[in-house]
């Protein structure tokens, strides 16, 4: 099993190595290397997955580790940890990655850096799989940074475009802030417990080596990493800009897998979250869910809408982690990976078509703009149908995967609020349900504007064509994976996944904090949970349908004049359209502040430090002019004398050098005899 996991992990690395060195010279620029590597990984993960299903045990786990750093008492082991969590995650990563690889063959065809693109994809798959497999926080951190690098490289893939290069830098720097928190969290954990290994950390927390405020701090600091990577509220600004990268990358990295890594991390460290830390997590997640959803309403770039939707959905997951509904949050991660990857690939298909149409008609406008689309459903039936399936899934309509997981999260938040005495916590379900309406609304806004109605630009419309098979087939696969049956087997219940394999196999991890405190951190009774679930389901179906209905009212039947409404709530619209001015805010505070501080430092450097340096240089110069005279007269004389002597000796001795090796060997032998004789006597 470990060997299998190692193959899954290392094959993409092998592909990366081959690609980066030989890619250009291989036939077809070597795309088959990467695709087949991830394909094999996918097949092997499928084997693991089937084994997991046939095993059907929630407690299943396998570990293996090797010593990594070993200096005296200081020991760090590196190892692999496989449980159901990891296997499901492996499955998600390899599936989406494989499909995106295949899709990219079509989407990236003819790109000048084709082979490098596939090399990056392979490197990303390798790092992401490593992140899933590692059994210790340090290894996870290393892989965490590697996926960050890949994200940076792929966002800035069209680096000749300024906006892409800047977006890459922005993503990288914003992530650094989160990762700084992560690193601090690692240090806190290591100082207190002395190991990075997850099971050691669990033991340490359970035994109380890390407790009280420090434990909360450690939890929140580690969560900072997730804030950065999963684009949660204060650090969400990079993800929309990351859409500068190629669309397959957006699907793979910025929708399905890497951004979900934050959620995965929170799930992995959930055992050490104290109640306060959980509240922080829940509120950040909940707020992000609502906040990003409100921005998504007004955006016109199809990929940006999806980006904000991703942020919002990630907020859902994080919120689920915060209210203790781990398996629901993780479930949403899985389903979201499928339908959001699908949405991105579908939008990629549309953009691809637009791009070609623009090239044909020689129009230079933004191919991502939904204002230029409309009526595509007749031209691109496969893309349309799959896109609709994904949209239904994300809106949370029954019979689709998104309903199952979103409903579980909403139920979880409701149960959390009901079980707490403080009514303020009803804010969390409020965030969740409001975001659900808005999600349904803005997703259908995109669908209606893109696929229904009259074509806005007939000149472009004429040249729109369905994408090649290599692009539509992954879409179909993802669409079928967005239907409920895959998650509710063997019970086959479209409304609830409770009896499905997923809920049976993925259990809420035991909390070490509870073990330390001696009482559960969070207690939610069965009864509350059940009633919350039923109520949540009703409300969420109702809200989703409301959202859809609103979208159709606004944009399809045009019963409400959108322009007039916009004018009426102009300030709110502006706020949302400009993303609450967060970029400008950061620019004004962080960037300007840093510049001012830098100017101060520069002044200090050029005046104070340079003054000292110049002064000492002046003294040294006078001293050295004195020593120079001494040098010329006395020292040089000595040196010349030695040189002359050597030359004279050399003249007389050089006659021994006959240039014949054999004499030298004889000389060496004579020397050897001499040495041995002296040693023996």
């Amino acid at each position: 099993m470990i060997t299998l996991a190692l193959y899954i992990w290392l094959l993409p690395l092998l592909a990366f190595t081959i690609q980066i060195f030989l890619g250009k010279r291989l036939p077809r620029k070597g795309d088959w290397v990467s695709v087949s590597a991830i394909g094999i990984s996918f097949a092997l993960s499928l084997i693991l997955f089937i084994r997991m299903l046939s095993n059907y045990s929630p407690d299943f786990q396998v570990t293996a580790s090797v010593p990594w750093i070993n200096i005296g008492q200081f020991k760090i082991d590196m190892g692999i940890y496989i449980d159901n969590f990891a296997i499901v995650m492996l499955m998600v990563v390899t599936t989406v990655s494989f499909l995106v690889h295949v899709y990219s063959i079509g989407y990236m065809a003819g790109d000048p850096l084709y082979n490098r693109f596939f090399a990056y994809l392979s490197l990303f798959s390798f790092s992401m799989l490593g992140l899933v497999l590692f059994d210790n926080l340090f290894g996870i951190f290393v892989m965490w940074e590697l996926v960050g690098i890949c994200s940076y490289l792929l966002i800035g893939y069209y680096f000749e475009k300024d906006s892409a290069a800047n977006a890459g830098k922005k993503a990288f720097i914003t992530n650094r802030i989160g990762d700084f928190g992560f690193l601090l969290g690692l240090l806190v954990v290591f100082t207190a417990i002395g190991s990075f290994n997850l099971s050691d950390v669990y033991q340490g927390v359970a035994q109380g080596k890390l407790s009280g405020g420090l434990l909360t701090a450690a939890g929140i600091l580690l969560f900072c990493g997730a804030i950065g990577k999963s684009a949660q509220f204060p650090l969400h600004v990079w993800l929309p800009d990351a859409m500068e990268g190629p669309t397959p990358v957006s699907a793979l990295i910025h929708a399905a897998t890497m951004v979900a890594a934050g959620v995965y991390l929170v799930a992995r460290i959930s055992f050490m979250l104290s109640f306060d830390a959980m509240l922080v997590v829940a509120y950040i997640g909940g707020f992000t869910a609502l906040f990003a959803a409100t921005i998504a309403i007004t955006q016109n770039d199809i990929k940006r809408v999806l980006a904000y939707s991703t942020i919002s959905q990630l907020g859902y997951m994080i919120m689920a982690m915060g209210v203790g509904a781990y398996s629901a949050g993780f479930f949403h991660l899985v389903t979201h990976a499928m339908f959001k990857a699908g949405l991105f690939l579908g939008s990629g298909s549309v953009i691809h078509a637009m791009h070609h149409a623009m090239e044909k008609t020689n129009v230079h406008e933004d191919p991502n703009d939904i204002r230029l689309m409309g009526g595509f459903k007749n031209k691109m039936p496969a893309t349309y149908i799959t896109f609709l399936v994904f949209t239904l899934a994300i809106s949370g309509i029954p019979f689709f995967s998104g309903f199952l997981s979103k409903d579980a999260i909403l139920g979880g938040t409701l149960a959390f609020a009901m079980s707490q005495s403080n009514p303020v916590h009803y804010l969390l379900p409020f965030f969740g349900f409001t975001a659900a309406i808005i999600t349904a609304f803005y997703m259908f806004r995109v669908v209606i504007k893109t696929f229904y109605g009259e074509p806005k630009r007939p000149d472009l419309y004429e040249h729109i064509h369905e994408s090649p098979k290599v692009m539509t087939v992954p879409l179909m696969v993802l669409a079928s994976l967005s239907i409920f049956i895959f998650y509710t087997l063997p019970s086959f219940n479209p409304i609830s996944a409770e009896q499905g394999w997923y809920e049976q196999l993925i259990e809420k991890p035991a909390s070490a904090v509870s073990a330390q405190l001696g009482y559960p951190v969070l207690e939610i009774s069965e009864q509350i949970e059940h009633s919350a679930h039923v109520n949540g389901m009703m409300i969420s179906i109702l809200f989703a349908l409301t959202g859809i209905a609103l979208a159709f009212l606004f944009y399809f039947w045009k019963k409400v004049d959108v322009e007039a409404l916009t004018e009426k709530i102009k300030p709110l619209y502006t706020l949302s359209y400009h993303k609450y001015f967060f970029d400008e805010l950061y620019n004004a505070t962080v960037v300007k502040g840093l510049l001012a501080w830098n100017n101060l430092l520069a002044w200090f450097d050029s005046n104070v430090i340079d003054g000292i340096v110049n002064g000492s240089a002046f003294i040294m110069r006078h001293f050295s002019s004195f020593t120079g005279k001494f040098d010329l007269g006395f020292i040089d004389g000595l040196v010349n004398a030695v040189g002359d002597l050597t030359q004279d000796v050399g003249q007389s001795v050089r006659k021994i050098q006959t240039g014949q090796v054999q004499y030298y060997i004889l000389g060496a032998l004579a020397g050897l005899v001499l040495i041995i004789v002296t040693v023996l006597i």
Partner: protein, 167 residues
């Protein structure tokens, strides 16, 4: 078992005799062919030292590789048709002196024995042991040696093709 002993001393004498021919033969080609018998004789001695794998390796590499190279070297640098060509030698006395030096050193060293407690191990197949040692304990030297061989290969080809540089 005295048969084996007789055979042992015969091989020993054979080895030394052919080495003497290598050293003293007048024709270089005779030296080269005498080297064949020296190598084979050494392989025989290795068998007595229960180093079966080494014996076979000795023949494959020394005879099949190095000796062929040397023979080609001789054939390419000597005038082929002049079979009688006598190799020129350095002054015999000087060379004998060098040999004598070495002999003295070694005689002294051998007479200083014993360095270790000596024992006589039973014969046991060594191939598997050698394989394991090379792949575990001596892995780094082994890899270095393989890189050295690759380097030597490329270097030799480059040197031998030197005439192409002028074109």
């Amino acid at each position: 078992m005295e048969m084996q002993e007789v055979l042992f001393y015969a091989i020993m004498a054979f080895t030394i005799f052919s080495a003497v021919i290598v050293a003293f033969a007048n024709k270089l080609i005779h030296s080269a062919f005498a080297l064949l018998f020296t190598f084979v004789g050494f392989a025989g001695l290795y068998i007595y030292l229960s180093a079966d794998f080494l014996a076979v390796t000795q023949i494959i590499i020394y005879v099949g590789g190095i000796l062929v190279l040397i023979l080609f070297g001789v054939l390419m640098t000597q005038d082929i048709y002049d079979v009688k060509a006598i190799a020129a030698h350095n002054p015999l006395l000087l060379s004998l002196g060098g040999g004598a030096f070495t002999a003295i050193i070694i005689a002294v060293l051998i007479s200083k024995k014993p360095w270790f407690t000596l024992l006589n191990k039973e014969f046991a197949p060594t191939t598997a042991t050698i394989g394991k040692l090379i792949l575990y304990e001596y892995l780094l030297p082994f890899e270095i040696a393989s890189i050295l061989l690759l380097g030597a290969l490329i270097g030799a080809v480059y040197l031998a093709r030197a005439e192409d540089k002028d074109k």
